[in-house]
Subunit: 252 residues, 2 copies
């Protein structure tokens, strides 16, 4: 934990540079070969948080979300999607208890009320190399079932991000930055099964996925193996991007 | 426009009671028999805004959204859904120009930077009776194609709400508070066509809608008329509510 002097210096800087009462928290989901993880920061012994921070006074919120994620975890150039604002007046009260013997509430930036804007991202955790900032001990990937308890309302933020991601699968494509350039239908199905945490029917998956028009089938089939060579697919980038903004064809 | 004295008094009250830098704007869509409208406030001659306002310092944001909508339009007990935060640092600059000869920027609450949290709602415009607050000249329903130009970024907020609503139709039910207790399939289809602003195929609509499991078919058919008596449907409330939170069955 910061000393009183360090905390006072941080608060003075924060008041000067940041918008009060607004923060950003990032939920970064990592996938690789059927495994799904989430990125959390270990700030003190036993204290785990989502990577978050504050908005500079004149900074656009998307810029702030990307800057904060980069500063706190080293992850750069990640597509972050805004998903919800958490505004319970009690959500930061845990900080008040934590700090009450160190600084009076009126002097402590962290015991203000904060509305936090949630952003989420999907990355291949093999492609990125998280590095903790100087305020943290470490920055770690955890499987959803091995996750330590998170501080404040960060478990709720994480769960809301996961629910949102799963709902978005019904009308938006995923996988562009998670799949290799060419992939088989079972490989793509595995990604969906990992996110949804359930088995899907192979034929229904293929029929539905093809109906969206976001895949091109390659002329080539994958060689080798004892089974019939599987077809290879690649995303049709134009249709994929259109579906990201307009939703899938085959909606209403 | 407020006089300098009125404006100073408003700003003093606002600083005392509200969280700085955060506002809420509400997009209320009204439907009735195939017509879709949106509710806007006429604050000054030629100045149209979405109904919006500020958060009390200790107020949960959902409470604030409902209070603001009630105060500004008289609409009460409306289910408002959060959909996006608009945070462009330039979004309130129009107010700066408007007020610059009246009050220095530092003294004027309205020329602060505001992040605004967008909420939307769907109502039957025959069921509600909008009443403007004392700051407004009137509170009016406009068809989307007859809408006057809105101030600030309110046209963008409205368009984002409409895009969100249309995407949500792909995985969430609508219509519970917009349809009579019992309705025919063509009546429900009309609601979807109105929101989407396009014609839908009758058979596909019926098949897809029934596949979601949110409708109960009544034993009774509607009497009268020259055609075959149409079936009547009602929403299955339990399944409807589950689909609101979990998405439709028949997703992945």
């Amino acid at each position: 934990m910061l000393s009183k002097e360090e905390l006072l210096a941080y608060c003075a800087g924060a008041r000067k540079n940041y918008l009060p009462h607004i923060s950003i928290d990032c939920v970064v989901f990592g996938f690789h070969e059927g495994v799904m993880k989430v990125l959390v920061l270990n700030v003190e012994e036993g204290e785990w948080y989502l990577p978050g921070g504050f908005l500079l006074k004149e900074e656009p919120i998307e810029t702030a979300a990307n800057r904060i994620l980069k500063e706190r975890t080293g992850l750069d150039d990640i597509f972050l999607q805004q998903f919800y604002v958490f505004g319970d007046p009690e959500r930061s009260k845990e900080h008040f208890e934590m700090y009450k013997d160190i600084l009076p509430a009126g002097e402590n930036w962290f015991t203000n009320r904060f509305l936090t804007i949630g952003y989420y991202a999907l990355v291949d955790f093999q492609d990125v190399n998280p590095m903790p900032d100087e305020l943290s001990i470490s920055c770690n990937w955890f499987g959803l079932k091995e996750l330590p308890e998170l501080k404040l309302d960060h478990t709720q933020i994480l769960n809301t991000a996961l629910d949102t991601l799963r709902l978005h699968l019904n009308y938006q494509p995923v996988g562009y930055n998670l799949m290799p350039k060419e992939f088989t239908m079972p490989e793509l199905q595995k990604l969906y099964e990992t996110i949804l945490d359930k088995k899907l029917d192979r034929r229904n998956f293929q029929r539905r996925m093809l109906s969206f028009g976001i895949l091109n089938r390659s002329e080539q089939q994958r060689k080798g193996g004892a089974h019939k060579a599987p077809y290879l697919y690649a995303f049709n980038i134009e249709n994929y991007k259109a579906a990201l903004t307009e939703g899938f064809k085959g909606g209403w």
